[in-house]
């Protein structure tokens, strides 16, 4: 009797989690596993310091190159220009906020790989935020948060689906993982009329609510075509080495709510118009 009860309870938890990424006591458990993972990760850090340092240096280098002081500005002060624009077109607004975080636990061996980060809802992390590594390449997205830690579904998760595009042509498709090799993911839904070559860069598309556009995902490693659908089935070598992720950025789309609301409202409006006819 107790056997049946415990079985039913575990299966209920499992299937509920697979659909919604929520389970009983997960918040508390996350805090505990998070603390332990943080301690183990401190030790683990020593083995990757050289590589991480190199990456950081490289990133600093690319940022320093963007500094204003590297560019001489043409002297335009002698010219009288009448600004006729009513709207200040130079004013910018912020769409994405980047927050740094540290990976405390990570696997690549399972079919459903998650990462645990040392930042949670206290730091403003929420579900569905994008996670990029220290080079700015895509790692995954947040699926669950507790006050101090958050869980990230990595690209190496059979339920993961990310909108991606070819950088050269801008054609968008869906990025998924077949659960086999942690070095490669699959890009589906690119029409055969598009010219694709091995080595082409794949980036995040403009159409994602979660991911900032034009962030590196990987490069095309092999091209096959899916005979059933008339689309390409592209094998993508990921830019991120999932074995050694240490520092990541969690990116929040500040307009996500508005975008989703607009989509919902539009659907409702169309639905009502249909009924009205």
């Amino acid at each position: 009797m107790a056997f049946v009860l415990l079985q039913v309870f575990s299966l209920y938890m499992l299937f509920k989690y697979n659909r919604l990424h929520h389970a009983a006591f997960l918040g508390v458990a996350n805090e505990i596993t998070g603390r332990m993972n943080t301690q183990v990760d401190k030790l683990d850090d020593y083995f990757h310091q050289g590589e991480e340092n190199h990456r950081l240096h490289h990133m600093n280098d690319s940022l320093l190159n963007l500094l204003k002081s590297n560019f001489s500005i043409p002297d335009s002060s002698q010219k009288i220009v009448v600004d006729s624009a009513m709207i200040d077109s130079v004013k910018q607004f912020r769409k994405y906020i980047w927050r740094e975080a540290k990976v405390v636990y990570n696997t690549v061996t399972s079919e459903k790989n998650y990462l645990q980060l040392n930042r949670g809802s206290k730091y403003g992390i929420q579900d569905n935020m994008a996670v990029l590594n220290s080079d700015g390449a895509v790692v995954g997205q947040v699926v669950n948060v507790s006050p101090n830690f958050s869980e990230v579904m990595s690209l190496l998760h059979v339920q993961s689906s990310v909108s991606a595009a070819l950088k050269k042509t801008g054609d968008a498709g869906k990025l998924e993982w077949d659960g086999k090799d942690p070095r490669f993911v699959q890009l589906k839904g690119i029409s055969k009329s598009v010219e694709v070559k091995v080595g082409d860069t794949v980036v995040t598309s403009q159409y994602s609510y979660n991911f900032p556009p034009d962030k590196l995902i990987g490069r095309v490693a092999a091209i096959t075509s899916d005979p059933a659908t008339g689309f390409y089935l592209l094998k993508i070598k990921t830019a991120v080495n999932f074995n050694t992720i240490q520092q990541v950025f969690v990116v929040e789309n500040l307009q996500r709510e508005e975008q989703l609301q607009l989509e919902k409202d539009t659907e409702k409006k169309v639905e009502q118009q249909k009924k009205g006819k």
Binding site: L6, S10, Y17, N30, I32
Partner: protein
Amino acid sequence: MSDLVKNIFRLFIFIVVQVYVLDKLPPLHRFVIPILYYLFILWLPFTLNRLSLLLIGFVTGLTLDYFTQTPGLHAAACVLIAYVRPFIISILIPKDTTEFNYREPSPRAMGWAPYSVYVFILTVLHHTYLTLLEWLQFGTFLDFIIKVFSTTGISLLLIFTVELLFPRKVRFRTNTA
């Protein structure tokens, strides 16, 4: 050390080894996944009654599940082997001798042959059920079969290595102890 303290300590070690060593190893192949933590359930004392066995199995599985973010997956498999364990033991060894002489299953308590059969049956059960639950959500039937065989193979290898490397001191249960 009392049985309780010893087993809490053991559970901790098994979970830590599984989560921080075996799950982090670069995989030989995607089918060959080393799983060892359930040896904890195999090593539990003979004297435990069925209900506490089931509960301990459930807690063991769930602890690992919270680390690997698969709530319920290992718990279900552990409850299954915790349930089957007493039947296997009662078939493999005559009740009146060994159960009174030794505290827990080990090659020395049961003899290598019966102990191997005991480990083999529970390993196959555990992995079949675990892989079945994963397979229900993803993968092909061939994947399922190969994965059961390969994970069973690597687990058995690990278990026998552990048994040879860390022979447990098995005390006779006497009236004075």
